[in-house]
């Protein structure tokens, strides 16, 4: 009974739920400010995304008349949101939270990570908008390309954490292994996988150079085109959670080092690392133009896949 209520608390309040949403929105705000500063602008207030969500809550939700599937259009945003809420629940934060504790949660993660894109594809394709249709086809193409990288990196990490003893599919196990034996980011064998994972992150977050599926320049808002009100806010929350999930996964895979024994210190350390990663993302965001979808597909199929395979080979044969 106690473990069940602890799980509910973890899912709804900390480190999932409320904490994750607010922290994710703050990270998004920080990313926007950092990009603005890199570009010589002032940028929005750090709470801007939170304000957006609060404002959207009061707005009317409209379903377009020519939506091909009204029900799907309404429920689509919640796939991604639910997926990300679950992901943040099962992810351990080193020294703070042990995760949901399942022994093969790494495999679950593969499925959960795909859900935001799935909800974009469902929502966009049922909205009946031409722009959304184009965005959906692009998202599907890109997803096909970047998920390969993710899966390879994931297996590389699992194998490395297994330490010659088969693959270790427990996130907690991966964190513990690195806390004992040093973070993978210090391991030369894992550096290519790290770079590949960062590229994967940029592609899933649709940050330049992969700002393609919802590129303002041609498809305007893409799959969000027909959304308004609460479902749009849910998309925004999903995006914030996705950012946080990716950053947390990056930390679990490559840099779960502890700062001390206390939970508070480790939590602050986790938040600081997250902020630093966000600034790094913002730096890439500000210094790159976007690919076209065909160029991005080619790039994603070659560079990150090669880097990830290189790491996998090194881990397997060295």
């Amino acid at each position: 009974m106690i473990t069940l209520s602890a799980s509910i608390l973890a899912y709804l309040f900390f480190p999932g739920g409320m904490f994750a949403i607010i922290f994710g929105l703050l990270l998004l705000g920080m990313e926007r400010i950092a990009v603005a500063r890199f570009q010589g602008r002032i940028g929005p207030p750090i709470f801007q995304n939170l304000f957006d969500v609060i404002k959207l809550r009061t707005k009317e939700f409209l379903v377009p008349e020519d939506a091909t599937n009204r029900l799907m259009f309404i429920i689509a945003p919640f796939f991604g949101f639910g997926g990300m809420m679950t992901a943040i629940f099962i992810l351990p934060v080193s020294g703070v939270y042990d995760g949901a504790g399942a022994s093969s949660d790494l495999v679950v993660l593969i499925y959960l990570m795909a859900l935001p894109a799935v909800s974009h594809i469902f929502g966009g394709s049922s909205s009946g908008s031409t722009y959304a249709a184009i965005a959906v086809s692009r998202e599907a193409i890109l997803m096909f390309a970047y998920e390969i990288t993710f899966v390879i990196v994931l297996f590389t990490v699992a194998l490395q954490a297994g330490a010659g003893d088969g693959a270790l599919f427990s996130l907690k196990g991966i964190v513990d292994y690195q806390v004992r034996n040093g973070s993978f980011v210090h391991d030369l064998k894992m550096i290519p996988a790290f770079v590949a994972f960062v590229i994967f992150m940029l592609a899933t977050l649709e940050v330049p150079p992969f700002h393609i599926a919802e590129n303002d320049g041609d498809v305007m808002k893409g799959y969000y085109m027909e959304y308004s009100g609460m479902p749009l806010a849910v998309f925004e929350l999903t995006h914030a959670l996705k950012l946080l999930v990716l950053i947390t996964v990056l930390q679990i895979f490559f840099m779960p080092g502890l700062a001390g024994g206390s939970i508070v210190v480790n939590l602050l350390w986790y938040m600081m690392k997250s902020a630093a990663i966000v600034i790094g993302i913002a730096l890439v965001h500000a210094s790159m133009p976007s690919f076209r979808v065909d160029q991005a597909f080619k790039f994603l199929m070659i560079v990150p896949v090669f880097l990830a395979l290189l790491s996998l080979g090194l881990v397997l044969f060295l």
Binding site: V35, I212, D216, G217, A286, M288, P289, S290, R292
Partner: protein
């Protein structure tokens, strides 16, 4: 997705920033055909000018468009001066070139910054805009306005440069040379910018000639039609400059022509300042415009601008007609667009430096 469908781009598409409507026929991600619809912001200016006198028309032609706002009154005034047989003082001729070239540099920088925006390189866009801001400051300090300079008047110019202003102008122009050199380097060498612009929106030389394309759009395809060089007006025949040509025929070539023309404009302003003769800046009094017809053409930032003015001896023109560069250039879009991707539509459209407010006066 393999079937053919239509994508509406415009008239209120966020990428275009201009009220024009493209019906794009798309096959998968590739553009097959494009149909251009326009006329959303027609203001009836050619009728309006017939109800105002020659001096008032100087103001209204300046309001045709903001980016080439100096060229419209400039060309109109040249046509009127031809009818009236006015010879403007030499100092005024130089001052006209200075105002025109400063506007040209600012306009070109604006266009390339939009290119950066459309390929998703927002930092490059803000940097280019920041560089352009120096020129905006120059315009505001010398002419009193950021966009509409109001530099020209019938019989001369409305402003004069004193020593301090010349020193300020030279200082500011020197200030932007280094940033523009760096920006040119990024526009021409950044790998993703190259990937997005090279080979995109091809306009072969023979098509450019056939369609009568003008301005940097044509010069990017290697067609020399710079009115400043072919039919020199004011003092362009006394200035030393070479027409800038690129033979890439694509969006990149057109952007490079514009960037190189920014340097050229700065150089021309400096030449004018060195050779600036003394004397009055305008002819005394206002001339009476006799009956007659006049034609003038200049090189606006977007290409050749053509004005026809017919007067019947009264203080109002009997007929005025102006042909703007975008009108000639947008026909070329039908050659440039097919075969490219949807993501390139706005990049290609931007590469002709469209000005819908000029075209739909």
């Amino acid at each position: 997705m393999s079937e053919t469908y239509r994508v509406p781009v415009g008239p209120i598409h966020i990428a275009l920033e201009e009220p024009v409507y493209f019906k794009v026929k798309v096959h998968g991600e590739s553009v097959e055909d494009v149909d251009i619809l326009s006329g959303f912001v027609h203001r009836g200016m050619e009728a309006l000018v017939l109800r105002r006198n020659f001096l008032q028309n100087m103001i209204i032609t300046e309001r045709t468009c903001s980016l080439c706002s100096n060229n419209h009154p400039f060309t109109y005034i040249m046509a009127v001066e031809k009818i009236a047989g006015v010879r403007i003082p030499p100092r005024a001729e130089y001052l006209r070139v200075i105002a025109d070239e400063v506007k040209r540099a600012a306009s070109h920088l604006f266009n390339v910054s939009m290119l950066a925006h459309l390929v998703g390189f927002h930092s490059l866009m803000t940097q280019t805009m920041e560089t352009r801001e120096v020129l905006q400051d120059v315009k505001e300090s010398i002419w009193g306005n950021r966009m509409d300079l109001g530099a020209n008047t019938i019989g001369g110019v409305k402003y004069d440069l004193d020593k301090e202003q010349i020193r300020y102008l030279i200082k500011q122009l020197n200030l932007i040379k280094k940033p523009i050199r760096e920006l040119t380097n990024i526009y021409s060498n950044n790998r993703i910018v190259r990937a997005r612009t090279e080979g995109v929106g091809l306009l072969p030389k023979e098509d450019a000639v056939r369609l009568g394309v003008v301005g940097p759009t044509a010069r990017g395809s290697g067609v020399n039609n710079d009115i400043r060089a072919i039919y020199p007006y004011v003092v362009y025949d006394k200035l030393n400059f070479e027409v800038i040509l690129e033979d890439g025929c694509d969006v990149r070539a057109r952007a490079l022509v514009r960037l190189r023309e920014v340097f050229q404009a700065i150089d021309l302003v400096e030449q004018c300042l060195r050779g600036l003769p003394d004397g009055p800046v305008t002819t005394p009094g206002l001339p009476r415009i006799p009956e007659g017809e006049g034609v003038a053409r200049t090189e606006a930032p977007r290409g050749e601008l053509f004005f026809y003015v017919k007067s019947n001896g009264t203080d109002k023109p009997e007929r005025m007609k102006w042909r703007v560069p975008t009108y000639l250039n947008w026909e070329a879009l039908k050659v440039m667009m097919p075969g490219n991707k949807i993501a390139d539509i706005s990049v290609i459209f931007n590469s002709i430096d469209p000005c819908i407010s000029c075209t739909e006066r």
